[in-house]
């Protein structure tokens, strides 16, 4: 999984049925200091995240199918936790 900041909400009118009633966000990877590094991703919300939250994102095959109880789930990356704080020590 990776740390990211929630940037924007994706608005879409025509969507796959699996995306009905769900929120998708643009998330930007961050390092533990909150500094933006690396690429942007899209992630589906599973924890009621909001804009500017630091979150943990991740996904693996079949995960979305299971958590949303869908037969077909063309969804990979989920937001699975909203970060309060990070106790972090860089290794040499």
């Amino acid at each position: 999984m990776f740390l990211a900041r929630v940037k924007r909400k994706v608005i879409a009118s025509a969507k796959h049925p699996a995306y009905e009633g769900k929120r998708v966000f643009v998330v930007q990877r961050v390092n533990p200091d909150g500094q933006e590094v690396g690429e942007e991703w899209l992630a589906m919300d599973y924890v009621s995240a909001g804009i500017d939250d630091i979150v943990v994102c991740g996904g693996a095959p079949g995960v979305a199918k299971e958590v949303f109880q869908l037969d077909l789930a063309p969804i990979r990356t989920l937001i699975i936790a909203i970060v309060d704080t990070i106790d972090y020590k860089d290794i040499e």
Binding site: G58, G59, A60, P61, V63, I80, A81, I82, Y88, K89
Partner: protein, 88 residues
């Protein structure tokens, strides 16, 4: 599976219900030869409450990470499954 060093704790009260009681750690993959960083850091779940900051651990990634949970399922793609004592 990857060898990694636990570099931090990610505290999150609001998280996927499958992760209740499971801590999330920041881990840095390390080389088995010289323990130098070997790839980008990432977040891993610790379903068995094995790890603490500074520990060397074995992390299972992708679909199999869910197998580390007693329930057999959690929306994760990296789980700490063993503490590393030493390499021979």
């Amino acid at each position: 599976m990857k060898l990694a060093k636990v570099t931090g704790v990610v505290w999150a009260t609001q998280k996927a219900k499958e992760l209740n009681g499971c801590r999330l750690f920041l881990v840095q993959p390390i080389s088995g030869m010289d323990e130098q960083p070997n790839g980008k850091p990432f977040v891993a779940a610790d379903p068995r409450n094995l790890a603490a900051s500074g520990d060397k651990v074995i992390v299972v990634t992708s679909t199999d990470a869910a197998q580390a949970f007693d329930s057999g399922f959690a929306p994760v793609n990296a789980s700490i499954v063993q503490l590393l004592d030493d390499l021979d």
